[in-house]
Amino acid sequence: MTRPYPRIAVIRFPGMNCEEETRRAVAAAGLACDVFMWNGPTDELALYDGYVLPGGFSYQDRVRAGAIAAKDRVVDCLFEEAAAGKPVIGICNGAQILLEAGLVPGFEPGRVEMGLATNIMPDRDGYYTRWTHLEVVDTGSSATCSFGRGDVVPIPVAHAEGRFVTSTEGLLDRLEENGQVVLRYVGPDGASDPGFPSNPNGSSRAIAGIRNVEGNVVAMMPHPERAAWLFQVPERLAGPWGASRRSARGERTLLEPGPGAAVMRSLRTFAERRSEEA
């Protein structure tokens, strides 16, 4: 008997704008995927095997990015399903919602322990878009379990508020000790580089993504759905992915998976592993 594909819900909060390409990227990893409305029935939402909160500007970033969506009743449902071990990945605005909801880092679930603050960049302010290079620091999460530890993966960022910060003393050390820092901005060659533009927003310890203690909930600022196919990679990108992109010009291989596809494959692996265990 063939096992059915895990079903993933991409949750559309009002004002999000990346749900469709996120759904396509999730589906391309061999997952069944629907866009689920924020005001949809939560008993139906609970039937999915995993969740992705995509990018955008939920509720117009009123108060703070992600703050209003974090109070939505679908988030209560996410708390329950996350507690049951289902994968939940928040991308960009989705990450902001998970932090505002207190789902990550989740030492005290429901309490806001970290924030995603306004970018700090030399000679500029506001929104910033750029392809960044990320080191996979931890492979125990729903977004990174298909990578190798230490892999360098290029994925673009696009945000005005993406700087991981906390006022809780010792929290950053605790995150690192627990392996909860999953992605870190590095230079194109993979070397540590906390400076701009390698670290595009001044994030503490160049953090690009974190997870909860269990690893099923991940908040990441970079957009893997914009790196899901090779054609999306810029030709002028440094490193092996840029070289692959250039040599694939004129070939059908340009339509094959890109560096961010492994995030969606991780989601699939994580969801399948969990359903096997269950």
Binding site: G15, G126, F231, R236, G239, G250
Partner: protein
Amino acid sequence: MISSAPPSARIVRIRNTTDEELTLGLAGAGLSFSLDEARKVAKILGRDPTVVEAHIFNTMWSEHCSYKSSRTVLGEHLPTEASNVVLGPGEDAGIVRLCEIDGVSYCVAIAHESHNHPSQIVPNEGAATGIGGIVRDVYCMGADVVGVMDPLRFGDPEGPNAERTREIVHGVVEGIWQYGDALGVPNLGGDVYFDRSFDDNCLVNVVALGLVREDAIVRSRVPAEARDASYDLVLVGKPTDPSGFGGATFASRILDEEKALSDKYAVQVPDPFLKRMLTVATQEVLALVRERGAAIGFKDLGAGGIACATSEVGAAAGLGVRIDLSKVPVAERDMAPEVIACSETQERYCLVVPTGLTADVLRIFNEDFELPELCHGARAEVIGEVIPEPRFVLLHEGAVVCDASTEEITTGICYARPAAERARNADAPAVPADVDVTAAILAVAGSPNVASREHVYRHYDGEVKGNTVVRPGEADAGVIAPIPGEVAGVAVSADGNPFLGAIDPYTAGAAAVAESVRNVAAVGAVPIALTDCLNFGNPEEPEVFHDFVEAVRGIGDAARGIGQRDSDEPIPVVSGNVSFYNQSSAGSAILPSPIVCCVGYLADVTKHLTMGFEEPGNAIYLLGRRTGALGGSEFARGPLGATGGQPPAVDFEAERAMMSCVTVLAEARLAAACHDISDGGLAIAALEMMLTAAPDRSIGAWVDVSTLGGAERSVLEPNDQGRPVAASVAARLLLCEDGGYLLEVAPRDEGDVVALLGMKDVWFRRLGETTDDPSLTIRSVEGGDVTIARDDLARAWNGGATRVML
């Protein structure tokens, strides 16, 4: 039949008034049209108009809405028809066929507008609502917006108004990203120029590009089915408020900074969040309409608000509409009927739907997408109905406030303006014999008008929707693959060098077409359509009007002269906009600024080209003669300080042959990289190819200026090859702005490339080679080779624009 005004409505007294009385009366009613125009209204109606009717005419007869000065000129010169055109100018966006896949015809919808005056007064909101307005024009054709672009013109950031100019730059860029990024439409490019003539009147042009299946196009008119069935008018979006009341007339007069404060109310308030929700909800509505096989009308509310949109959808079908203004959801109490009817509140659409579908449409907007819960006062509401007799009837609190035939209300107005050529400075720029070639190249590279635009485009989301193949800064045009899973590609570029406009508006119009075509061809796309936005001063001044006529003539000649690649047809101009009165009250007009956008098609997007050098040891080919004419060039205006002379003429036959060759070379995969030559000439094109190579590749180049001889009117003879060239001649040839391309070609492909170029009769030279030495070397200059280190080039080019935007 002469009708009488509705008895209960307030009227504007026009008949039997003296000029003095009428002047006072119009001013008192807040009406800006001329006395003659007011008397014409009374004549058309056969009576004095109601206040509401007067405001409708006032808006409809504004330059912005009526094209009363420009219509005849546009009609005379611009080619708007070709076999690939589905819908030419006339509705909210033009539509051309892109490709057919599995029996489905996919089309591109494109609209191009300006939002200049609002952006000068309130830069952030002005620029944001510019995007907001242009995307509605494309959405309401049933299309999904897949890209936007912003050509921008600002004042001198180092001149006497530097502080205000920099505020405007920051505000405009911020408005564009805050709106566009939140709406979720990728920004695919644009351009930026700085000049003192824009100090009091910046230009913010906007382009929106949409994808639509041909069988899903929705028209901005009452459908023919409404003759036999009951149809409702549904208004959806933001509650109507007084914002933007008088916006169209504001755009149609000289900008007076003194009055800026009161004009602020003519600028609308942007809400990208509501627009995003309207967009996704509208997609559900359109899906339902298709499922039911219903015919609907769909129109954006722009200039003139409810009154203009609804009268036009009715008039287009020869039917009438009756609207109850009391049913319009409003943001404030006690709004006057003319304000409800004519305010330009943002984020609103009008749908004309069969009555049987109305409840479902309201449910999708109001319940499924909870518009009233998400935005205070926002909702979809039935505000009226289609009526069989061709009348435009507005009611307010039970009283008829407008009752005229739709034909009368939408009657056009047209002027033949006098034109007179202005005196030009014919002195050709002279290059001194002791010119420092290195310094000249670095100065041009570091000019804010030539340098890298990275500081701007990194604010813009170029990748949302996940379809982007080539981003701003990587090549001459943005490229997307808008149909997921398919290799069909679309390229777009918008161009228009205002410094050519200052010298020769005909050449400025022609060069804008040629450059946008080159930019699209340089990524390997075949040009399929053009749009234009024509920005000029006061058309009532004969010299300004002459500039306008000449620019339009240049655009038309170039669109026909270059033409579509595989046929004798012109590249059709399918939509556009005229923006007059870009002039400060102090009297100075902007440089004549025709801006043209070109759309191109790639049958296989995997074969696109970018501009960064790929490998050391490849050949560099130059396509296109160097005449050495420097009029209007950055070299002349900057280092030489010369504003006169003639720019290079645009050679349509040569542009056509080069476009054809370059796109065929891309399809045959014979080029490694390609870049158009325009601002700053071939030296700048070469250094941009160096600086946009992958940063972990260290690629330089040498070029030999002695190869450039043999061009008609050139300063070099063909037999000069290999003989050192005087520095002044080298600088002239390297920095003149004749159109052309630089191609990087691998040695194995050189034979094929040369054969094709020869076959198509393209003027070309093997100019040089790429190297693994990170520098640009110019060979055959008297006194020895000129070598400029990559770091020096990068410092000038990367920092030149950022420097003036901080």
